[in-house]
Amino acid sequence: MELDSSVLIMGEDVGRLGGVFRVTEGLQKDFGENRVIDTPLAESGIIGTAVGLAMRGYRPVTEIQFDGFVFPGFDQIISQVAKVTYRSQGAFSMPMVIRIPFGGGIGAVEHHSESPESLFCHIAGLRVVACSTPQDAYDMLREAIACDDPVVFFEPKRRYWEKGPVDIGTPPQGSTFSSVVRRPGTDVTVVTYGPSVAVALAAAEAAATEGRSLEVIDLRTLSPLDLDPVLESVRRTGRAVVVTEAPRESSISADVAARITEEAFYSLAAPVQRVAGYDVPYPPSKAEHHYLPDLDKVLDAVDRTYAF
């Protein structure tokens, strides 16, 4: 915000309160009410006015309070945000960020634990990304703000309280909107993103004690997908497990599995396995452990690729 005066923050409670997760804490004090804007309680209003502001040369960073509350603004995202550049043949770009805390595991009430990312990936014109580490949260958000395309930026709310060192001096090499190998391995490729990265890493740790080497890949960019590192890995390991909290059908995990099958079929020793949320509405929080992929479910899927 210091470097670029066209960057604005907009959302409910982002100003004086600093956001319900305090992500924007202190920013209004530093940058004033014209750049850190407490908006009326209306998501269509937030996203829709951000569209106009972007047309006018601003770079709005909007905050949606919780995943389940993006839908009042969904119409604007699909009908305008995603299509302005295409419709205007580039006369207008749409440099907008839509930040959404997402995923379960925090014991919250209804509509506070959803994984709607696949819905956005289905919409051409949007970039959809998810961070999983503090460093990535910083680097990816910077890249999202600098990007001339609209970026739907998913933040795993389960990880907000996990602290880690962040290097703000060294710019990342290349784009952070790319898949990265979080843990190298030789036996099975585990593809994941966001809150499930930690689950996959824990599973890899456990598998190692049993003599199996899992390679964990963090997709980071969900649309467009960066699958080359995944395909390269699967060609080496011959086995793939996709892990995500989102419901399984018609989802990113479906797409990743299909693409692996299409493009690395002859390298596969077993069908691609998926570990995902069930295709049910998000359950009451005391039952979410039944819903969320855990370490054992990942290891079971790894077993299935061996049992084939």
């Binding site: 004086r16 309680l41 009042p72 209804e110 049910v280 005391k286 819903y291």
Partner: protein
């Protein structure tokens, strides 16, 4: 000045007379009540120029506030909203408010003790909710948001049934069809459209415009001295009420609901509890005009009622529901009140509002003024207050015990009622989860 006869008058005339009744030149408040009537900025002597520009001027006018029972406990009948006030009525309302406040406080305590993941307190809004809740007939339908514990109480729902949502064991612990109290809505504004649709259905079914019609033309109290909240009503007419907050009025859903409600003459009462805050955002972040005045733009009456006055809330809501039952709906009510506690137990109001403001509103406590009135008029004795306090303690104990007793749901809860009948995909995934759980019981044969 009342808005109740607004329909008969030329809208422009109303607008102008409304605009003339307040404005930036308004005197600074001299009593807590005036301060409260002037809204969130009530404790500041004069609005600053910035506040005026921000539209605070328009949200802080208060002359139209309907009040029957003053903060000092003095009763003054209202010509447009007559109400037969008996000792029995007052005692009942007092008891309701005390009991509801008691289990609400218990909700906070249970959250602090880790028994609930969240609690949305209603402290300060007891009158707004009990007044509206007691105006409903059993056949009326209510669409709450997530803080309407007092209305739930009036619908005959055991407060313990509210706990599942906040403990995370369920998403609606009561039967919303049988109780005619819909499940709590968490997505702001969603339920208001649903309420209008339900009311449209009531009209399509011919459940409005019954015998209440002629009575309502005379104004309020259409059901006679027994009140609209009597057993079934005589005419078989129904109405719907939608509850929402001041922040919710910014949502497209609420705006669209008012458009639909108006053009389809839906028998719906839009009941906005203006508690001055939407989490950290004061009401002037939502509107430049007093919220009740928005109703005029849609073409139905808007009434601002003292939301800390249970009698005024009851009388006005009764009138509004009867308007709806008789076919004259919709009506908007703005219950002007204050959220005395945090937005939810995850919120920290000290980050955004001043203690002064809370202190000013404490003087307007909805329960205290009824207690003072009962005492001063000799309508209740010490034994009555003692009995209510005892009932409150018993309710709190029941509430707490019920909370401990709530079991975590098993996997069946995930997969039941996803669809109206058996569904292959759900069945398969259910079996998958059962198998997964069973795998922990079996001897390790998988090699792990």
């Amino acid at each position: 000045m009342q808005e109740s006869d607004q329909r008969e008058q030329h809208p422009e005339r109303r607008e102008r007379s409304g605009a003339a009744s307040g404005g930036p030149e308004q005197d600074p408040p001299t009593t807590a009540r005036d301060a409260a009537a002037q809204g969130a900025a009530g404790t500041a002597a004069h609005p600053t120029p910035e506040q005026v520009v921000a539209g605070l001027r328009a949200t802080s006018e208060g002359p139209d506030l309907v009040e029957l029972l003053s903060p000092e406990g003095v009763f003054t009948p209202h010509p447009d909203y007559p109400l037969e006030v008996t000792a029995e009525l007052l005692q009942g309302l007092y008891r309701d408010m005390v009991l509801v406040r008691r289990f609400d406080r218990e909700g906070n305590a249970l959250q602090r003790q880790g028994q609930l993941s969240l609690w949305a307190p209603l402290l300060g809004q007891e009158a707004a909710q009990i007044g509206a809740g007691r105006a409903l007939r059993p056949t009326d339908m209510a669409f709450p948001s997530y803080r309407e514990h007092g209305v739930a109480w009036c619908r005959g729902i055991d407060p313990a049934q509210l706990l599942g949502i906040f403990r995370g064991t369920d998403q609606c612990g009561w039967d919303p069809a049988a109780t005619r109290f819909n499940g709590y809505a968490i997505v702001i504004g969603n339920q208001v459209l649903n309420a209008v649709g339900y009311a449209m259905g009531q009209r399509l079914d011919g459940a409005v415009g019954g015998a209440g019609n002629s009575a309502s033309a005379a104004g309020a109290g259409a059901d006679g001295p027994d009140g609209a909240d009597g057993p079934e009503g005589v005419d078989g007419s129904e109405a719907t009420i939608a509850f929402f907050g001041d922040g919710a009025t910014s949502q497209g859903d609420v705006h669209e609901a008012m458009v639909f409600g108006a053009v389809f003459d839906a028998p719906v009462v839009f009941y906005c509890q203006n508690n001055q805050w939407a989490i950290s955002e004061p009401v002037e972040k939502q509107s430049r005009v007093p919220l009740y005045r928005r109703a005029h733009g849609y073409g139905f009456p808007g009434v601002r009622v003292d939301g800390n006055d249970v009698l005024a809330c009851l009388a006005v809501t009764r009138w509004a529901l009867q308007e709806c039952r008789s076919g004259n709906g919709p009506v908007m009510i703005e219950a002007f009140t204050y959220r005395m506690d945090a937005h939810t137990t995850s919120d920290d109001p000290t980050r955004y509002r001043l203690a002064d403001e809370e202190e000013a509103w404490k003087l307007l406590d909805p329960i205290e003024r009824v207690r003072v009135h009962l005492t001063r008029e000799g309508l209740a004795d010490a034994a009555f207050f003692e009995r209510v306090a005892q009932d409150a303690d018993e309710l709190a104990a029941h509430f707490r015990a019920a909370c401990y007793a709530l079991d975590s749901p098993g996997p069946d809860r995930l997969f039941s009622h996803v669809y109206s009948g058996e569904h292959e995909q759900t069945r398969r995934q259910h079996a998958e989860q059962i198998g997964y759980l069973a795998s922990f019981q079996e001897p390790a044969e998988s090699g792990r």
